[in-house]
Symmetry: C2
Subunit: 357 residues, 2 copies
């Protein structure tokens, strides 16, 4: 067993968006201070953190300064440059560690890792050139989806392939970036498991949520998800298998497709996850505090769900609905303090307690 | 109807203790920034606020600077110097306003105000000298309690009077400060109502909580409180009467003694209240956000209670129990990040969800 980081200690967070903001607030509940490392100014997390170091992820002096004033380091996004990790790891523990980052930064490694664990994924193949593409089409078939192996999020860096012509165009659009060709999966709906593991090796999973996307962006998460008791058990067990195999420390989001043949892992995110925001309204300990507890060497908290909740993202002009949502019964708002409303930009979310669980 | 303060606006908070800290966190949920005005350094609220102006409440330049960078001003404690209010009010709205501060800063005015409203209070008399004291004893009797009229909290500035000798000593200890003599009230238990009123005149009350004190400091609050349906209605109606008569804007704590003859008002606090901390675990909108909503011109939120909760203060060495509480089921911790543990010092609190409501 590791030591519990004492109240009053400081947690460093890479990334200053809404996830960093809500991690920072959760850390404050346990008496921790936070320092945000984020290149952008006036970022959401900086409004609530004790300190904001505004510097690029390639600025090694700034990274060392950051590491020097914190006790442990975590992050709100998975695309952390390896060179930054090299600097930080020498100075302070980084949790979750680079094993998790490595597999989740590269869709090909991710799929191979999951598949090696014995978990079901969409059929996939690496595509670097027209030859690979032809082989992938022959093996996996059309329709399919071509994705960059790295740095994709919210549907960016993806193209649907419905014909050989689409395939040619999609490959050209990759402009030489390594890609992965994924077969379409027939699924009835998507669920996700927010799972946590601490340094003592305890694993805790929140009740799976059911996700609805629009234009590649999460729109709503509903708990409970439509799952049989057996599916629910499967979901939790496979999430635990992933975390244990990585000796993971922190919260992970595991997205699953529900199919007649079983649960297929779509992707994993080594961080708190948009589909876990409902835990703020339905649990004694939410995903943000759970993550902080794990990285701080604390026992995991009680994540029992005690209400039925619908989480809805407020995207772009959805902000116009805030006055009405502010009046709605059972609704708690979480607005991220972003200065500018842009189409497709996540501005906040609303958790609605639908009924007691 | 007033305008809703837009997300991104800044709320100024006088006082940087745990109440200011939790107000600041609640404000962040609605996308507001906060600036703390507090003479002490490294105060709990400064860890989570966007900015901390460290200056004395008599520093008029600092007060003007503070007012200049915020959109509305509120506070976490009632003993704000009148001269500071004079400066602040000229620049920005201060909510709740000085009517509420005036009656709650002086126990004699408070009791007179409540009594004029037709509410029951303990029998009371002003005591400035031995002559007043003799009259008070003759009229109200012994046992009783002598309190300073101003600046008392957590049992400070109070003396029990069980005999005429006690009375003499208590008066001498006042060292010339104006005092109030209060008759003992026979009560079975104490409850409090956390009530809110916004600028539109809407009033909302949380379910009353039952309070247990130790050594003059709140130890636990339990919801639901032991009250008949009629008492519950009385409690809520009298709280609403107080808020409406003051045209109050914000959250107020109203402490009540439960007696066979009815509810007796012990005291009112024009701010979020320790006995309302349970709302963090049992409601969609807690008292801190309710207060921020009111002072920001927002609609009041849904404060329906959906769980049975016990709130326990962590005082001094209670911090040694944090590792055990961190493991306990249904418990959420709120630690204030105070650097030093002192006997009698409120270091944090634990909300335990006992059952679904």
């Amino acid at each position: 067993m590791s030591e519990m980081l004492p109240t009053g200690a400081t947690i460093g967070i890479l990334g200053g968006g809404q996830l960093g903001r809500m991690l920072s607030v959760a850390a404050s509940r346990l008496g921790f201070k936070t320092v945000i490392f984020e290149p952008g100014g006036d970022c959401p997390a900086s409004h609530v953190a004790h300190q904001h170091i505004q510097a690029d992820y390639t600025d090694e002096d700034a990274l060392r300064r950051f590491a020097g004033i914190v006790d442990v380091i975590t992050y709100e996004f998975e695309n952390i440059p390896t060179a930054a990790l090299d600097v930080l790891e020498r100075a302070r523990p980084v949790r979750p560690d680079r094993r998790a980052l490595k597999v989740s930064q590269d869709r090909l490694l991710e799929k191979s890792f999951l598949s090696d664990l014995g978990l079901m994924t969409a059929p996939f193949a690496a595509v670097d050139d027209p030859e690979d593409m032809a082989e992938a089409i022959a093996e996996i078939g059309i329709p399919a989806i071509l994705k960059t192996r790295r740095f994709g999020y919210d549907g960016k860096g993806q193209a649907r392939i419905m014909s050989p012509t689409d395939a040619e165009q999609a490959l050209a659009d990759m402009a030489g970036q390594p890609a992965i060709y994924e077969g379409f999966v027939e699924f009835s709906h998507e669920v996700s498991v927010i799972a946590a593991r601490n340094q003592a090796g305890d694993v805790a999973c929140y009740d799976p949520g059911e996700n609805v996307h629009e234009g590649g962006i999460l729109r709503t998460t509903t708990v409970p998800a439509r799952l049989t008791a057996a599916q629910r058990t499967d979901a939790v067990l496979l999430a635990a298998k992933i975390l244990n195999s990585l000796k993971y420390v922190g919260v992970m989001g595991v997205e699953l497709f529900v199919t007649p043949k079983g649960l297929i892992v779509n992707e994993i995110a080594p961080r708190v996850h948009n589909s876990g925001h409902w835990t703020q309204a339905g649990c004694a300990i939410d995903q943000f505090e759970q993550h902080i507890r794990a990285v701080a060497g604390w026992p995991l908290g009680d994540g029992t769900r005690y209400a039925d909740v619908v989480m809805e993202n407020l995207i772009g002009d959805d902000m116009d609905r805030v006055p009405a949502l502010a009046r709605a019964s059972g609704v708690s708002l979480h607005l991220y303090g972003k200065a500018e409303v842009k189409p497709g930009r996540k501005m906040g979310h609303a958790n609605k307690i639908v009924s007691k669980g």
